[in-house]
Symmetry: C2
Subunit: 138 residues, 2 copies
DNA sequence: AAAAATCATGCACAGGAATTGCATTTATCA
DNA sequence: TGATAAATGCAATTCCTGTGCATGATTTTT
């Protein structure tokens, strides 16, 4: 259980400290993307900055990707198998629910290619659809 | 000149005060979207909060739309003729240059329709492409 | 196994930005 | 003109990212 998470970290070249295992475990149990503040509530005992740096480390090593859903605070979600979130073509769509304020990854929905005018050289893209999710519209 | 701006405000149901005329004039002369801080530099004498509320008023009355380009601060741009930025179908793409940090509206480029799973009810969408603009790549 | 070096963590604090409350001024309307 | 409503400016709050530095833990080297 914990062992699996430890392996996951090592595979990405991240030293498996207690803190990191806990954060990874918390992220694994989440369906929606979480913000730093969300995490802070889960780990009341820990320092905000440590969580901040933990997420940063995860991100730099391709374990999570961050989503800017327009709420002001970036959110983080575990990368799935084959989530090449650094490569332009593989960026997926995110959905932000205005009711529960949660943000979901839709890894199966890729951002369509936009054929921009020549003077614009694209490198990455971010598409957030906002609306109401299934739980909130029921 | 100023008269035109005044009419524009009145058409949208916004009382044409001096401040608002100045802000509208400043926005009209901009090719790229501007942030609150950008505006603040132009109007050094004025208060940040007033500018903030002016933009908010403009936005509520459909005179400008805001873009979240991921820089942390929302940017604002004048709506063009027929810019139905409240209506899902008409949302256009924005381009953010990582060199000059400017954000451009691409009104001719609409966000493609994403056929989401049924449980997600879309209401709006935001697509920001990041890269390098023509001026910076030359 | 001990010393040295590197890395992780926690605390304090700086800085930027959105946002609100309230008092004052300005404009509208009866 | 007097009453009412709206706009503005100032002060202050809150929230968040990010940095500096000291301490503790872990890895590496000798």
């Amino acid at each position: 259980m914990i062992k699996e998470l430890e392996i996951k970290l090592k595979q990405k070249g991240i030293r498996p400290t207690a803190m990191r295992l806990l954060v990874l475990e918390a992220l694994s149990g989440q369906e929606a993307a979480v913000s730093l503040s969300d995490l802070e509530e889960v780990f009341e005992k820990s320092d905000r900055v440590t969580l901040y740096r933990t997420l940063k480390t995860f991100q730099e090593n391709g374990l999570v990707h961050s989503i800017d859903d327009g709420t002001g605070a970036p959110k983080y979600a575990l990368c799935e198998e084959g989530c090449e979130c650094n490569i332009e073509q593989d960026l997926h769509v995110h959905f932000h629910c205005r009711m529960c304020r949660e943000t979901f990854c839709l890894p199966k929905y890729k951002i369509p290619d936009i054929d921009l005018p020549g003077e614009f050289i694209p490198e990455e893209a971010n598409l957030v659809v906002k609306g109401v999710c299934g739980k909130c519209s029921a």
